[in-house]
Structures are given as structure tokens and as C-alpha cells.
Symmetry: C2
Subunit: 292 residues, 2 copies
């Protein structure tokens, strides 16, 4: 242990004094990351000039946020989400070349072992909600179809809940499935039109959103993870551009390129061809995967 002989702490040199104290860290990445965070947080504090009471309120907010976390609830991830931190980390880790489809946040409701299904399967297992057909192609950046792309999809039901949030109410693996493209790169599945839903807002993060004049809703979307040999995997959503919350997603997940029109199809011939027994929503969206 070294006793560092650095200068004493002052308002002016505060972040430098802390960084000097971390000089003996064995993990250079940890040291640099902590020092950068300290420098920016000290700068924020100098700009805010919090009172002692405001500092203590912040301590207690973080404490309540920690106490809200358990095996089923991650309030710090919610905090990260509503402050745009999760999306920023996602953006930094998923810079794509021009023309490739963009990523967005994974979210907490993916499950690893959803069943692999024949293309075109209806993943709505309880028949509830407005029928929807989703189809499109998986392409490379030159427009060629990608053979053998694994497509993992999941979504909330039309009441805004994922199956894992309603065990015993929804069937297991409701509105989830894994599909694999052939040489034509085409995918399709049937499901139900998703609906906006709130992130969990009964904790400290929900209270903060309320004080900031914000609602907790995410616009209607469904999730994809696309994986193909020789390409970067893509974790993303597609969104309904007509959703009332499309411009105010509580977790900032929306990107202009991730919109897909939800067209209501009422033509009897089209209904029959798609295998529905009444009007349905058609969503057509292609994805472009980037090479590493």
C-alpha cells in the first residue's frame, strides 16, 4: 500500500486529487473509467451547486432505488433507461455502416429458449388480440438475401404484458418464436398487434418520472434478435409509427429507421390468402445486416 503524497483537496483541484489517489490501481481500465466519471460528476456538481439537503436527497433516492432491486426487478436499469444511458451505451456498442439496420435496447423480457418454429407460424397461443402478419427479408448491405439467418422474435400481448410477466395467465412462450430463413432470406410469422405499455412505475424511478412531468409509456413494438454466420448480430425493435407515444418513448428506444407501417387489410382475397378469418394488420419490414 502506498500513501500518496498528493496535494490536499480543494474546490478547484477536486477531481485531480481523487484521480491521483487512484494512481496505484492494478486495473488501468477501471482506474481510467472511474477517473473520467469522477471528473464529469465533479463538473456537474460545480455547475449544480447542490445544497447539503439536495445531496442527501440524492443519496436517499439512490438508496430507495437499490432497495427496490431484487431477482425480478432492476430499478437501476430502469433509471439508466429513462435517463437515456442504456440507449447511449447501446448506440456506442452498435455503430453500423450506412445502409445497415439500426439496433435498439434488448429490454428485460427476452428468454433464451423460445421454440424454433416453421416460417409463418402464429406465435399467439391464446387467440387474444388483433391478428397481425409480419413479413420481410433479411439482406446484406448489397441487397442480397442472407441464407440461414436465425430470427428470434418476442412481444407483449395487446394488454401490454409479456408472457413472463403473466405466468399462469398467458401460455408459456406466448408471443415468442425462433425462425430460420432459407436461401431467399424471407421471413414471416403471425402474431397480434402490440400495444403501448408502461415501464414499471411504482418505484423511485416512476416517482422521478412523475416529478419530471414524464409518462412511463413505451410505444407499441416488437423485438428481434437476428444472427447469421459472417454478419454482426442485431438486437432491435420495430415500432408502430401511429402509436400515441412514438415521439416520447420513456426509454428513448425509437429510431426513425425502425418504423414499420401497420396496415389494416380488409380485402377478403388477401385475408383468405394470409390464412386469417377476418381483417388483420400487415407489417412488412426488411432488415439489413452488417459484416463485422
Amino acid at each position: 500500500m502506498t500513501i500518496q503524497n498528493d496535494g490536499y483537496f480543494t474546490e478547484e483541484n477536486s477531481a485531480d486529487v481523487v484521480a491521483a489517489r487512484n494512481a496505484d490501481a492494478k486495473d488501468a481500465r477501471l482506474r481510467d473509467s472511474v477517473n473520467i466519471l469522477v471528473r464529469h460528476i465533479h463538473a456537474a456538481i460545480k455547475e449544480i451547486e447542490p445544497t447539503q439537503e439536495e445531496w442527501f436527497e440524492t443519496v436517499m433516492f439512490l438508496t430507495r432505488t437499490g432497495h427496490m432491486c431484487d431477482d425480478w426487478r432492476q430499478e437501476f436499469i430502469l433509471l439508466s433507461d429513462v435517463m437515456g444511458v442504456s440507449m447511449l451505451v447501446d448506440a456506442i456498442n452498435n455503430r453500423k455502416p450506412s445502409g445497415a439496420s439500426e439496433s435498439t435496447v434488448l429490454g428485460p423480457f427476452h428468454v433464451a429458449d423460445a421454440p424454433e418454429l416453421p416460417m409463418g407460424t402464429n406465435i399467439c397461443l391464446d387467440g387474444k388480440g388483433e391478428p397481425m402478419l409480419v413479413r420481410g427479408r433479411i439482406l446484406d448491405i448489397d441487397g442480397n438475401p442472407i441464407d440461414g439467418t436465425k430470427i428470434d422474435v418476442w412481444q407483449a400481448n395487446d394488454e401490454g404484458f409479456y408472457d413472463v410477466q403473466q405466468k399462469g395467465i398467458q401460455p408459456d412462450f406466448n408471443l415468442r418464436g425462433v425462425f430460420r430463413t432459407g436461401a431467399d432470406g424471407v421471413y414471416s410469422f403471425r402474431a397480434v398487434k402490440p400495444k403501448f405499455y408502461p415501464i414499471p412505475d411504482d418505484g423511485p424511478v416512476g416517482q422521478l418520472l412523475g416529478k419530471l412531468g414524464r409518462h412511463p409509456y413505451r410505444p407499441a413494438h416488437f423485438h428481434y434478435i437476428l444472427e447469421a454466420d459472417g454478419f454482426e448480430s442485431l438486437t432491435t425493435h420495430i415500432f408502430d409509427p401511429d402509436d400515441p407515444y412514438i415521439h416520447s418513448d420513456s426509454v428513448f428506444g425509437v429510431k426513425a429507421s425502425l418504423m414499420a407501417k401497420f396496415d389494416l387489410i380488409e380485402d377478403p382475397a388477401a385475408i383468405a390468402e394470409a390464412g386469417f378469418d377476418g381483417p388483420f394488420y400487415l407489417v412488412e419490414h426488411d432488415f439489413v445486416l452488417a459484416r463485422p
Copy 2:
């Protein structure tokens, strides 16, 4: 509820998009503080470029820190302390005119109802430790004594524990007392020479300190709160400049102006005059209070 029609989130405009979303907050101070924090934390993230795994490790660190907090342990205050945040907030809230004594952190061990005692009382109730006499004057910025200053002092024992940490082992109110100056501004009390001690380091913050190559020790000190009519109150410590951790206080509380020499007095006449029965440490330190 307004649905803001701001732009979608990108890596470049991330903090502006979050700030636009907070535009409807009723509490302007909260809104501005959150927006400043978001801007600086996003800037830190852009500089660090954390992986998804590093982001998740940070979430889990904050979660463990929250879970460590209870009625007796405040791990987020420890985190604030070891990152220099507590001292920075203290510095911002206690800017003093030139010539006035400087503040430092309150710490978690002050109690509000310590007994008021006659000047010169020995506040060491269990006779353990090396005897110490502390004395000095409370002055205004022009060097005039301040009549009626309330002096609240407390310290750890020579094993590094405060009475409230060792209920049933140390007597109640051991090494605490409140004194009040007369017209001469003079104060004095007897106690024991304090020793360095670690902040609680058996939790996530202690583990982080270890990874940063840092020890958990605070150099020997004792605490003062000084209050006098017509003056700003002063919360501060005085430190032993010969302490092995004087240049590496784990919470950055040391300031050059807060040092006081701990002189070992062995002269029999001086020992008799001070009312000790053997050698003792003499600490002489004046404080200067600022007017508001």
C-alpha cells in the same frame, strides 16, 4: 400530459433529447439539476465507451451498494465520500472569506444531545488512551475573541471507534462534550490522543477501494461544530500532521489549515499545572469564525 415531439435519440444528440423530454417538469431546480447531471454523465460515457458488460457490472455495483444500506449503514454516503463528492459539496456550501477557519465533512458520528460541560472537563470517561489537553481561542476575523461560542466536540477513542459504534463497551457520551466560551473566547478540554481508523470497508465501496489500490483509513482527527450569534457556524476537524495517513485521507477531509501539532509534554511542572499525573499531548488551535 404532453407528448413531446422532439427528435429521436442518437449518439450525438443524446443529452439534448433527454433534456427536451424533461421540459414539462414543474420543479425547475430538479429539471435543471437532472439535465446537468445527464449531460455530464452522457459525456463521461462517450469518453469511456463502456461495453454492455461494463454497463451491467456498474448496475450490479450500484445494486449491491443499495442493498448494503440500512438504518445503521449508508454505503452511498461512503461512495460519495471516497469519490470526493461529499467534500466537494461541503466546499461549495462553506466558502469562507480569507482568514476564516475552513470547514470539513460532518461525518456520520455526531450526536445532537451531548452534555454541556465546564471548560477544561476531561471527556474521556473510561480512562483509556494517551491523555491530551486541547485548548485555544475562538476569534472573529479581526482577531477579537467571540463571547458565548458553543463548541461541540467529539472524537474516536484510541482504538478508532466512536462511542455510538461500541454501545455497552464505551460509556455513553464517551469523548463528547459541549463547551461555551466566555468573553476571552478561550476554550479547553481534556481527552485522549486520537488514532487513524478505517471507514467501513466490508462492503462494495471497500471492494472498489481495494481494486483502486487505495486503503480505507482516515488520519487521526477530532471534530468540532462551532456556533456563535452573528457568525456562520463552522463544522470542521483538526488533524494530527504526523499521522501516517495525513496525505491520503480516504474521504479527502484534510486541509492544510486544519493541522494542529500534537506536542508531547514531559516537563513535570507543566504536567502538574495541567492536572495530569504523567506526560500528555498538548494541542493548541485557534478558530476564526466568519460573519454571514
